[in-house]
């Protein structure tokens, strides 16, 4: 958003009056303070709480700054409780979901946008129709399908495929990928085809290099989506050794010492916060693309 702003609700003249300026700074400062207190302070409380000793945490009067520092609760949570394993599980689930979604959804969107097969529009319509369905109403039949996949007759429970494959049926990905591919001029593809490139070659060497922004959006949403998910992995990964950190934290919450639990919560959040800090723009762009479509 540009810093030289257009005219908004309050007129520049009203802003520049003495009371206007005072009010502006007053509201601005209280908002900054309020937001910091409401949205940043809880994160500090979590990360800082993990540094306190168990007795200090359990004290009836919480301390703003830890009296005694115990950074070892982070390493204890990481090593002793086995959070490193759960963390790696999450990493595996997220990486696989990212890869499968890119492979499946990019190929599908490319076919629908540029190769235009027979009945392509009907297929696209049926895919987009699923966007209107409440996910939770499909929870039970999808779960039962995963336990015994039709045609293939395999049980995906306790395998990462139970996360990866359903994630590929993602109409939002197909929608924004196809819309982006539609904007790539056909002449560009035709000239590549003249040079003897097949459809796969055209996709890899012409379409994909032009599509970096939209690939970034799809990638971020794929990784963040799997990382945040709780209910689905809780259902399809009942084996504790295979669970992601989100499910494991909830299961271990009753048994872990409070400071180690907090350390675990921080560790489960850090990758997402880092992704957010790096890709803020893409995330916000994708957010508004998804809601204000058209």
């Amino acid at each position: 958003m540009p810093e030289s702003r257009e005219r908004t609700l309050i007129a520049p003249a009203e802003m520049n009056r003495r009371t206007g300026r005072f009010l502006y700074w007053f509201v601005l400062c209280s908002t900054v303070l309020g937001f910091t207190l409401a949205f940043v302070f809880p994160l500090y409380w979590m990360a800082g709480g993990a540094l306190k000793s168990s007795s200090e945490l359990a004290d009836q009067n919480p301390t703003l700054i830890p009296h005694s520092w115990h950074p070892e609760s982070y390493s204890e949570a990481w090593a002793n409780v086995g959070l490193s394993d759960y963390f790696l599980n999450t990493l595996l689930l997220a990486a696989g979901a990212w890869l499968t979604q890119l492979l499946v959804d990019v190929a599908a969107a490319y076919a629908l946008s540029k190769l235009r097969p027979a009945l392509g529009n009907i297929v696209l319509g049926m895919m987009l129709a699923t966007l209107m369905l409440p996910v939770s109403a499909l929870l039970v039949p999808t779960y039962l399908t995963v336990t015994d996949v039709p045609l293939f007759g395999v049980n995906l429970i306790n395998t990462p495929w139970a996360i990866w494959l359903p994630a590929c049926a993602n109409a939002f990905n197909i929608f924004i990928l196809k819309r982006f591919f539609d904007q790539i001029p056909t002449e560009l593809l035709d000239s590549a085809r003249m040079d003897g490139a097949g459809p796969l070659r055209v996709l890899v060497s012409v379409v994909l290099p032009l599509s970096r922004p939209v690939l970034a959006v799809v990638s971020i949403f794929a990784v963040v989506g799997v990382w945040k998910d709780f209910l689905w992995p809780l259902l399809v990964l009942p084996d504790p050794a295979r669970q992601p950190i989100t499910v494991a934290l909830n299961r271990l919450a009753e048994f872990m010492p409070a400071n180690q639990l907090l350390a675990g919560m921080v560790m489960a959040s850090i990758p997402l916060l880092v992704i957010f800090l790096i890709f803020q723009r893409h995330i916000i762009a994708g957010l508004t693309a998804g809601s204000l479509k058209g």
Binding site: L28, F39, A111, M127, P134, L139, V140, T246, L292
Partner: protein, 294 residues
């Protein structure tokens, strides 16, 4: 015109296109389209893991409507949705209107309000469970500092639902706020200038310019929010478990219990169908609105 070689070439083009589309279609077919049909059929079946499903007609529905918890769950969900609209609808709108006036600290404020959205929901829930803790919990300590009575945040029938809505609002308002900010940014400044020339005060401009200009996006987010909050699950699952005395049993929590605690997939599917129909009504309104807009 229609010589055989040309037809054959077109057929092979379609085959190539479908080889790109195939994996996507298969994922949708297995994990989206088939479960839609199956979910509806399952509502009329008795399903156990050991035996093949048997057709029981409307039995599941009869049992469902006879379960007093079914009514409780819908009442609670309605109450949650209503509260979530009171907090979750007003808060992001007012926040966005205020943020839109600021010339300073814009990116900081936009970033902080979105921070909770990036946390894994399970971390948010565990963090707030700790805040709500009647002993060392932060909230009661703050209340005590101001000499206000301590609250039984999650243990009291009267306010446990409000506690859940507070978490939910905190965790989700970033998304809507950023959507509103994008929409506010696209209101042309001339409209405000014209209103100002007509002598409209700031409050009148908000009422007669900002809100009408935002009407469409407000309707859309209202519907999406209703559809989203009616599927509330993780808040009651982690924070209250449906208690105290079933005061926070929601539709999805009850559905989860039918399916994954009692293994009564038929009854859970009947409930899914009911949920599907109710949310479908809102989705239909949403579709009408967005289609009318182009």
């Amino acid at each position: 015109m229609n010589n055989p070689s040309r037809r054959r070439r077109r057929l092979s083009e379609h085959l190539v296109a479908y080889s790109f589309l195939g994996a996507g279609v298969l994922c949708f077919a297995l994990f989206s389209w088939y479960p839609i049909v199956r979910g509806w059929l399952l509502g009329f079946q008795e399903v156990t893991f050991s035996q093949p499903a048997t057709w029981v007609g409307w039995d599941n529905y009869r049992r469902l409507f006879a379960d007093p918890l079914f009514v409780t769950a819908w009442k609670n969900t309605g109450y949650f949705t209503l509260l979530a609209l009171v907090f979750g609808f007003a808060a992001p709108f007012l926040t966005a209107v205020v943020l839109n006036e600021f010339r300073h600290a814009r990116s900081y404020l936009r970033m902080t309000v979105y921070l909770p959205v990036m946390l894994p929901p399970i971390v948010t829930m565990l963090l707030w469970r700790w805040f709500y803790d009647p002993g060392p919990g932060l909230f009661n300590n703050v209340l005590e500092t101001f000499h206000l009575p301590a609250q039984q945040w999650l243990e009291s029938e009267n306010i446990s639902m409000i506690s859940l809505v507070l978490v939910s609002t905190w965790a989700n308002m970033g998304t809507t706020t950023l959507i509103y900010l994008a929409a506010l940014g696209s209101i042309p400044g001339e409209v405000y200038e014209a209103a100002e020339l007509d002598g409209a005060s700031i409050r009148q401009r908000l009422w007669h310019v900002t809100i009408p200009q935002m009407r469409f996006i407000l309707m859309i987010t209202l519907l999406l929010q209703i559809i989203g909050t009616m599927q509330v699950f993780i808040e009651p699952y982690v924070l209250t478990g449906g208690g105290p005395d079933d005061a926070t049993v929601t539709v999805l929590l009850l559905l989860y219990r039918y399916a994954f605690v009692y293994n009564d997939f038929g009854m859970a599917s009947a409930m899914s169908t009911v949920l599907f129909i109710v949310l479908g009504l809102f989705a239909a309104v949403y579709l009408r609105l967005t289609r009318g807009k182009g």
